[in-house]
């Protein structure tokens, strides 16, 4: 075995590829009766079944979970999982990286395979948030901000409200255009049996929903969710492979950033991922964007070069990011965080589940992107202090 990790002569080197032979997830929901441990077990078993991998073939387990101590009064999820599923030969650990926990678990799995420490790795992430009152969940999530931000009563939607206000002021986008992001993602989720939201919303519904952080309203924001998702990563190629999984940190305090409309960690992770995969934004057919708030779909598309700066809203207005839109790029065909749901530790993995299904052609025709070859996912921590960008490619 030779290292694929060449640092020079990048354009000529073919990217290291890692197979994704199996994926699985629970149906995301506002309240699931199962425990966090059972959710993780269910998603993991589905991914192992999908990959046709026996438990004793798994070399390493990477459990993504942000806050089981706070939400579920429990720890040690990785060890409980290996014992329950008979993953008796595996090494195991838990990964935490706030909202980017899921993709960070995948990154850890990919790097473990890359390092030759595993032939078969299992990344599984989940969160059970429904046990907390909304105010308690808001408190838990608000604690990931800088302490001086927390002292101002700042919540994650507060940052999104400021960014949305600034975006609508800076460009010709309207409040209605922003609502169309939610309308699109709800329409996609309605066709996704694994998504939390089952119904369409209209622009009027969004604009009439309760204010959360002006100009953003309830339907601009992702819900709290119970759910888990899993992916098997192998040294051997598969129908769909990972060609890049790259992370970058960003400035912690949001106001310390040079521009309130920038999510620089997403741009940095994206650049590294395009470079590692030997691809560029023009080639991406389908993208799972971390739309915890509608405005983030635009900001991250712009950071990733999937839209020109200040222009992402036009793609939304023209319907070009819809599944059957005539654009070159479909965004959030599974419903995104907005409508599939956002169980913190599961989200980044559920993005890859959706991409694998799309690239394998495993989705019903009314939700299928037209013959995608390249998929991209961006999973963002906090309001952008860390991002993980993953690129997948269909073989053949």
């Amino acid at each position: 075995m030779v290292s694929h990790n060449s640092l020079s002569g990048r354009p000529e080197a073919s990217p290291a590829r890692f197979g994704l032979p199996g994926v699985g997830m629970t149906r995301f929901t506002g309240s699931d009766d199962r425990s966090i441990a059972e959710l993780l077990e269910t998603a993991a078993e589905r991914a192992l079944d999908d990959a046709d991998v026996e438990p004793d073939a798994v070399d390493s387990v990477h459990v993504g979970n942000m806050a089981a101590e706070a939400f579920n009064n429990t720890s040690g999820l990785a060890n409980a999982l290996t014992a329950s599923l008979g993953l008796s030969r595996a090494s195991a650990r838990r990964i935490e990286n706030t909202s980017a926990t899921g993709a960070s678990a995948v990154l850890d799995a990919v790097d473990t395979v890359r390092a030759g420490r595993a032939e078969v790795a299992l990344a599984v992430g989940g969160e059970k948030m429904s046990v907390a009152e909304t105010s308690v969940a808001t408190e838990i999530i608000s604690r990931i901000t800088h302490s001086q931000e927390y002292d101002q009563g700042i919540t994650l939607p507060s940052f999104a409200g400021l960014a949305a206000a600034r975006y609508l002021e800076s460009y010709d986008a309207t409040r209605r255009d922003l609502a169309r992001v939610a309308v699109k993602n709800h329409a996609n989720a309605r066709r996704n049996p694994y998504a939390q939201f089952e119904s369409d919303v209209t622009v009027a519904d969004v604009l009439d929903s309760p204010k959360v952080a002006t100009p953003l309203r309830l339907y601009d924001c992702c819900p709290t969710t119970d759910g888990a998702a899993a992916v098997v990563v192998t040294a051997a190629d598969a129908d769909v492979s990972v060609t890049a999984c790259e992370s970058a940190v960003g400035v912690h305090a949001v106001a310390d950033r040079a521009d309130p409309l920038r999510i620089e960690s997403a741009a940095a992770a994206g650049r590294a991922a395009y470079d590692a995969a030997g691809t560029d934004p023009d080639e991406i057919d389908v993208a799972c964007i971390h739309d915890a708030f509608t405005i983030l779909e635009w900001l991250e598309m712009e950071e990733l070069g999937l839209a020109e700066r200040g222009e992402a809203w036009r793609l939304t207005r023209e319907g070009r990011t819809e599944i059957d839109g005539d654009g070159d790029l479909t965004v959030n065909p599974g419903g995104g965080l907005k409508a599939r749901g956002h169980p913190l530790g599961a989200t980044g993995i559920s993005q890859l589940v959706e991409l694998v299904w799309q690239l394998r052609g495993d989705v019903p025709s009314d939700r299928a992107v037209d013959s995608p070859r390249y998929g991209l996912a961006i999973n963002v921590a906090g309001f952008g202090n860390n991002s993980v960008c993953t690129i997948v490619e269909a073989s053949g």
Partner: protein
């Protein structure tokens, strides 16, 4: 905390406590007066953590030295207004953004809690 921290090497300023400069990594950031800033964006937050009354009206304001802060806004302030940071009396109270033009040098009649 109406003060801002300034890098001794490159001059970059920040309102957020940290060990080293954001831009050049130098340590020994020094407190300075933040001066007058401009409100860049405003949001009214209607879903707030326990103990924070809603709506919590917040402004993102930029000051000299590339320093910006998100802080509570005095009523009536909008994007484009000139502001200064004011630290209310009382331990632990976070600073808030108030109009720059207003005379803030007066003795506040509610400062009896100081002793």
């Amino acid at each position: 905390m109406t003060r801002v921290l300034e890098c001794p090497d490159c001059g970059r300023r920040t309102f957020y406590e940290k060990r080293r400069c954001l831009d050049c990594g130098a340590d020994g950031l020094r407190p300075r007066d933040s001066g007058v800033g401009i409100v860049q964006a405003v949001t009214a937050v209607h879903v707030t953590p326990d103990g924070v009354s809603a709506p919590n009206r917040l402004g993102l304001a930029s000051f000299d030295g590339d320093a910006s802060i998100i802080a509570r806004l005095e009523d009536g302030l909008e994007a484009g207004d000139s502001v200064v940071l004011e630290t209310p009396d009382g331990a632990g109270s976070p600073p808030r953004l108030v109009p720059a033009e207003t005379d803030r040098d007066r003795e506040t009649p509610t400062s009896s809690g100081k002793q």
